[in-house]
């Protein structure tokens, strides 16, 4: 088999292997690129309401349970914290409920993981570490191979167009480097 044929076969098969990971990195890439505008892994829901003044002792569990009852909160109270003399923060199954005791103003915070996207970001940002680090490195090497082997697939008919497009792909990041660096 000629080297051109080997190049073609490897480019094709490694390309197939990379499809899943490329989509994962691409979708997650867009998601985390806009981290300033949104939370890519969690949907943080915030609801404000008023349950009326709370007069019980904030250090007393009965007060916390009364607050949950007034809110109609069915979840189990896990823990509590007093940020200041007038506030009580309750934790119920991953949710945070902060109550201003004199006014009864309640801020209910709930972080819901974004399905699929959270898992994609978890891998993309290499949160697992360990063996995933090496696998992601291997994927990067495979991508580099696809880029270089693609150059050797140019035919005479498409050579000019291929080289021009490749050149543009190199110039674009250089342009932004000159612009912003």
């Amino acid at each position: 088999m000629s080297w051109r044929r080997w190049n073609y076969v490897l480019h094709r098969d490694i390309g197939f292997l990379c499809i899943g990971l490329t989509l994962l990195y691409a979708i997650s890439g867009v998601a985390v690129n806009h981290i300033k505008e949104w939370n890519p892994s969690y949907s943080v829901e915030r609801v404000e309401t008023n349950i009326g003044p709370v007069v019980g002792n904030p250090a007393d569990a009965a007060t916390a349970l009364e607050i949950l009852a007034r809110l109609g909160e069915p979840g189990k109270l896990e823990s509590s914290y007093r940020p200041d003399r007038n506030s009580l923060q309750l934790f119920v199954e991953g949710r945070s409920i902060t109550v201003d005791l004199p006014s009864g103003h309640v801020v209910h915070d709930r972080a819901v993981p974004r399905p699929v996207l959270r898992e994609m970001n978890y891998l993309h940002l290499n949160h697992p570490k360990k063996a995933w680090t090496w696998f992601a490195d291997l994927y990067a090497v495979a991508l580099a191979f696809l880029a270089v082997s693609g150059l050797f697939m140019l035919r005479r008919k498409t050579m000019r167009r291929g080289l021009v497009l490749t050149g543009i792909g190199v110039v674009i990041p250089l342009f932004f480097l000159i612009l912003y660096l």
């Binding site: 943080v44 914290y81 007093r82 940020p83 991953g94 945070s96 949160h127």
Partner: protein
């Protein structure tokens, strides 16, 4: 049928795992624990030193998981644990759980402008209103540069 039974057995064996603690970063190695109140009372004794603290996680960075607030051992007190972005990522589900954290105590003297910038950023993250006029002056902030942590029940 065999597969079904094995699956049920495995699920039963693995389910209590969630009740154990999960390690982050370098985990926790120090044996002696320092009270958060002690660090707040006499910061000079601890700045630059590695400590182990524990407490209830009352807040987590919702965008990057790059910090948590631990409740102190006294009412109304808390301390921020900041970790390097990406090295340790605290999950939002850690809120309300108890953490043991190891790290180096840091003291930062901030100008009024820096305090405004930090609080504005924090308010944006939390989706709450912030009035720069509420900041009267600069301040000294104590925090722990987190190196490892162990969180119960995540």
């Amino acid at each position: 049928m065999h597969t079904f039974l094995i699956t049920i057995l495995l699920a039963a064996m693995l389910s209590p795992v969630t009740a154990f603690s999960k390690d982050f970063g370098n985990g926790v190695t120090l044996s002696e624990e320092t009270a958060i109140s002690a660090i707040i009372d006499t910061p000079a004794d601890y700045v630059g030193k590695k400590v182990k603290v524990s407490g209830l996680i009352i807040d987590v960075c919702s965008t990057r998981g790059c910090w948590i607030y631990l409740a102190g051992d006294r009412d109304f007190e808390k301390i921020r644990i900041k970790v390097t972005d990406g090295e340790i990522v605290f999950p939002m589900e850690a809120r309300g759980k108890v953490a043991t954290v190891e790290g180096v105590v840091e003291s930062m003297v901030l100008t009024r402008e820096e305090v405004i910038k930090r609080r504005k950023h924090h308010a944006e993250e939390k989706g709450i209103d912030f009035d720069p006029a509420s900041v009267a002056s600069g301040e000294t902030v104590l925090r722990i540069r987190g190196l490892g942590a162990s969180i119960d029940g995540v």
